[in-house]
């Protein structure tokens, strides 16, 4: 079985010229997607041997991204930019990571603790969600003594909102627990900030040299209509989606809790669909109402993922588009229905500014309302901590995560800006870098902002279609087990092989790490021999062999960032003007030919 090497010539080099495959440009943490795709494609048929390989690949990903197992269930942003999209379908990177996670999670509990020497300062991380955990992980690896202050009784933050049928509990719990175990991170549970207990000043006095605030946004937004809270909001039977999903994740809601009840979920985001599909699984006759329209391409298009909408539709959840809620009716103390005027516009140039046509209004019956129209931060607390600017927004440098008001405070995650799990993780990584620079007296901002360029799709004769992903049929999946079937080993290898490896070799090196090559040979063009015939530019699939005008003549050259050292141009050159410098193939050929018996002179 191969053994991957990560050091020396097999190490990924810093993105020189900032050129990367589009998936890695899109990924907020620039994960080594290409390298690990290639490694997966080189797994053996034998499952036992493959396991060794999977753990090696997992270990590699884990170094920078200890959340990768969770990504395999809930992320997939990279797929939106994959070059294969227009040619048959994006590479199913999320499922490839899930495939790795399936084996890796079992191994994770046995993984050896990191050998760290924590000789640097104490850092406080407020919030044990993905942002805080990532910051704590990277700071610990750099030698800082980190303490996480988590308000609840478990790590994971908003990830607990994600239903079990999308993210298994074991994956989330194991991921969070092992991060703190492996890095030796101290965690204080039920340590809420504010309420006279924990405060920034207290942390400073207790000797924490810097604080990373990643408390998230646990305050659900209230349901409003035309700027005011909706009438009837005090009836019983109205729940916030947030609260509801947290309760479910704690196991506090019994199955069939909603049997015989009409549940209406208000909201159009992924969380709304999580709530609706959860309610359906708990027996409710569920519908979803949102301001946005069905056309995802329009500016007012529904924000939820296409897969969620499709899944919900399959499960029998009605989605009612372009409707607001102007009134909540009650029967006695309980909700009995809602009044929904047509929403004609959600966003204008200034931003969120819904407009309604009240002459077109429908009524929906409902026994229960679940409100999922967004969440926000505890502004009052932030104001007290002097973290807001004069306009009431969080005063923070978006590149360094450093507070603009208090230089030893850093802010990230949903608290800073609402985003995906991986955005929060990125904030945590950046904050760790910023804190290190701040404490070591280095410039916090220098070289932090860089623009990345995406590599184009390589040419080939024909492209392959994406694999079909199987879902358990709706009638058999009204429970909280996973309904999406992941990849088997042959399927994962096949899909990983489909990856076109668009990105430059410098940011990959997978072949070197498993010993397929010692190092990457560079193509050299002998300008004296090159006649500018253009055969090389005709055959290069990566656009690396190009021609330019030199003193009125055509000459070829190689763009080394795009070159894959495949040697097609070397073989095709009719003048033998191209060479792969240091290519060991020729020596080997000479060796073999010398061995052959009865060599004939010439």
């Amino acid at each position: 079985m191969w053994t991957t090497v990560a050091k020396g010539p097999a190490a990924v080099e810093a993105a020189v010229k900032q050129l990367l495959p589009p998936c890695q440009v899109q990924c907020p943490i620039n994960e080594d997607i290409q390298r690990t795709n290639v490694l997966i494609s080189l797994l053996p048929d034998d499952p036992a041997l493959a396991k060794q390989g999977i753990i090696q690949i997992g270990d590699y990903l884990y170094e920078k991204n200890p959340f990768f197992a969770v990504c395999g269930y809930v992320c997939g942003l990279c797929e939106l930019e994959c070059n294969y999209q227009s040619k048959g379908g994006s590479i199913k990177r999320r499922l490839l990571k899930r495939f790795l996670a399936d084996t890796y999670i079992d191994y994770l509990d046995r993984k050896e603790e990191l050998d760290l020497i924590k000789h640097k300062e104490n850092i406080a991380v407020v919030g044990g969600g993905p942002s805080g955990l990532m910051a704590a992980w990277h700071l610990s690896k750099r030698g800082y003594r980190v303490t996480i202050f988590e308000a609840s009784d478990r790590l994971g933050g908003a990830l607990w909102l994600i239903p079990r049928y999308r993210l298994p509990e074991k994956v989330l719990a194991s991921t969070c627990e092992n991060i703190v175990r492996l890095a030796g991170i101290d965690v204080k549970y039920n340590a809420e900030m504010g309420n006279g207990k924990l405060s920034l000043e207290k942390l400073q006095h207790e000797g924490y040299s810097a604080v990373f605030m990643a408390k998230g946004t646990p305050q659900p937004r209230a349901l409003t209509f035309m700027g005011a809270e909706v009438e009837g909001g005090d009836l019983s039977g109205i729940e916030y989606g947030h609260t509801f999903l947290y309760e479910v994740s704690h196991g506090n809601i019994s199955p069939n809790y909603f049997k015989g009840k009409k549940v209406v979920v208000i909201g159009g985001g992924n969380v709304a669909f999580d709530a609706a599909r959860t309610a359906k699984r708990l027996g409710g006759d569920t519908a979803l109402v949102c301001l946005e329209c069905e056309d995802k391409k329009s500016k007012d298009g529904i924000p939820a993922d296409h897969e969620e909408i499709r899944g919900a539709w399959q499960e029998g959840i009605r989605t009612i588009y372009s409707r607001g809620v102007s009134k909540i009716f009650g029967a006695g103390n309980n909700v009995s229905g809602i009044e929904c005027p047509k929403c004609t516009q959600v966003f204008d140039d200034a931003g969120f500014n819904p407009k309604f046509d009240v002459s077109d209004t429908i009524k929906l019956d409902a026994d229960l309302l679940i409100v999922t129209v967004g969440q926000g931060a505890d502004r009052a607390a932030l104001q007290k901590d002097n973290l807001l600017d004069e306009r009431g927004r969080i005063a923070v440098d978006p590149i360094t995560m450093q507070s603009l008001n208090r230089e030893w405070v850093f802010i990230g995650g949903d608290l800073r800006r609402i985003g995906f799990m991986v955005d929060a993780m990125r904030d945590g990584i950046e904050a760790a870098e910023s804190i290190e620079r701040y404490l070591r007296g280095l410039d916090v901002r220098e070289g932090r902002k860089w623009t990345l360029e995406s590599q184009d799709i390589p040419l080939r004769r024909y492209y392959l279609g994406e694999p079909e992903i199987e879902w358990t049929p709706p009638e058999k999946r009204m429970h909280f087990e996973l309904f999406e079937h992941g990849f088997t080993l042959p399927q994962a290898v096949h899909e990983a092989r489909r990856c076109l490896t668009c990105g430059p070799c410098l940011s990959c090196k997978a072949c070197v790490s498993v010993g397929i090559q010692n190092s990457l040979s560079e193509v050299e063009v002998n300008a004296d021999r090159c006649s500018g015939c253009g055969v090389c530019t005709s055959i290069c699939y990566y656009g690396a062999a190009q021609s330019k005008q030199v003193e009125g003549k055509r000459k070829s050259f190689t763009d080394t960032f795009k070159c894959k050292s495949c040697g097609m141009c070397v073989v095709a050159c009719p003048s033998g003007a191209r060479e792969l410098v240091g290519d060991p193939m020729h020596a080997r050929i000479n060796e073999v030919y010398a061995n052959l018996s009865g060599a004939i002179g010439g």
């Binding site: 021999r529 500018g532 015939c533 055969v535 055509r554 073989v571 095709a572 009719p574 003048s575 010439g602």
Partner: protein, 330 residues
């Protein structure tokens, strides 16, 4: 008065085109003739071999030898001139690369004799008479040179100092070669006189090539009316210019005929046929394997095309001269 350098010009297995090329220097030949002393030129002057045999070793400054080596007379003359000369120039494609007669290496000597003297439709040879190296008749003995089994380049028989390929070599390069000898400004031994890049470098059609050449069908030059402005390859016509040393002034291309490779390989390449084969295959654009095969099948005689002038110097075609024992029959 310093003696004028002696120059021998001789043809072996040749067509005479190379000698014609020297004559084609026109007025320039008179100036050249003025500065040298031609001691052998069978096509034009009346010197005999015994005149050469009588000379001292290295008395001839330059021997210009054209033609391939296929029989024992060629070998004898080549060795004689080598002995008596300071510099030997392999002149033309046949001497340098083997030439078109090199294509005979694809069949055996026996097959040649059977066809020419017995099986060809126009042959009337009821007694099956075949040429012999030694024939006794009427008390006399007459001899013929022995035909070798294989066509050889000059360098496979004697030590060659310089090469001037081309069928025939272009006049500029002929003049340059002779001048170099006369002035002593000689390149390193073993060099080929001429540019060091392929034809595309100076071909006027090169600048108009598309970024990617994609050949979907292959046509023979006589089957189509080729566009005189566009690269032949782009039009699906095989042109070996990209694998052939330049310096000929694109004389074929300029009359709308594709290059056939008489200039031989560029420096660093031994087998231009093989290199061109890879290049051509890579430019073929086909959707399926079947389609690619169909297009390749349409190439009539690929070996003949890629090795038209260079079979005896190609990887599989080159062979040192193996002498049969003395006095053997043909």
């Amino acid at each position: 008065m310093a003696e004028k350098p002696k120059v021998a010009i001789c043809w072996l297995g040749a067509c005479g085109g190379c000698d014609e090329a020297i004559v084609d220097l026109n007025e320039a030949i008179l100036q050249v003739a003025d500065q040298i002393n031609i001691v052998l030129w069978p096509v034009a002057l009346d010197f005999k071999y015994h005149h050469i045999e009588a000379m001292k070793d290295k008395e001839i400054t330059l021997s210009i030898i054209s033609g391939a080596v296929r029989n024992s007379e060629h070998e004898e003359v080549a060795r004689l001139l080598r002995e008596k000369s300071q510099i030997v120039l392999a002149f033309g494609a046949c001497a340098s690369l083997g030439g078109t007669s090199g294509l005979a290496n694809f069949i055996t000597k026996q097959e040649i004799f059977d066809w020419v003297y017995r099986d060809a439709p126009s042959v009337v040879n009821p007694n099956g008479t075949m040429p012999q190296t030694v024939t006794k008749m009427n008390g006399n003995t007459v001899t013929l040179p022995e035909l070798f089994e294989h066509v050889h380049t000059l360098a496979q028989v004697i030590d060659v100092d310089y090469y001037l390929p081309g069928c025939p070599p272009p006049p500029d390069l002929i003049a340059a070669a002779i001048n170099a000898v006369l002035t002593g400004a000689l390149p390193p031994k073993g060099s080929t006189i001429g540019p060091r890049v392929a034809l595309c470098d100076s071909c006027p059609r090169n600048q108009r090539k598309p970024a990617r050449i994609e050949i979907k069908e292959i046509k023979r030059i006589h089957e189509v009316e080729a566009n005189p402005d566009l690269c032949f390859l782009e039009q699906g016509i095989i042109c070996m210019g990209s694998a052939t040393r330049g310096g000929c002034g694109e004389s074929c291309i300029s009359v709308n005929i594709p290059c056939r490779g008489c200039g031989g390989p560029v420096p660093g390449v031994d087998d231009s046929g093989a290199r061109f084969l890879s290049a051509l295959a890579s430019m073929l654009k086909a959707e399926s394997n079947e389609d690619a095969k169909r297009v390749i099948d349409s190439i009539a005689d690929p070996a003949g095309y890629f090795y038209r002038f260079s079979q005896p110097s190609s990887t599989l075609g080159k062979k040192p001269l193996e002498k049969a024992t003395e006095g053997e029959n043909v």
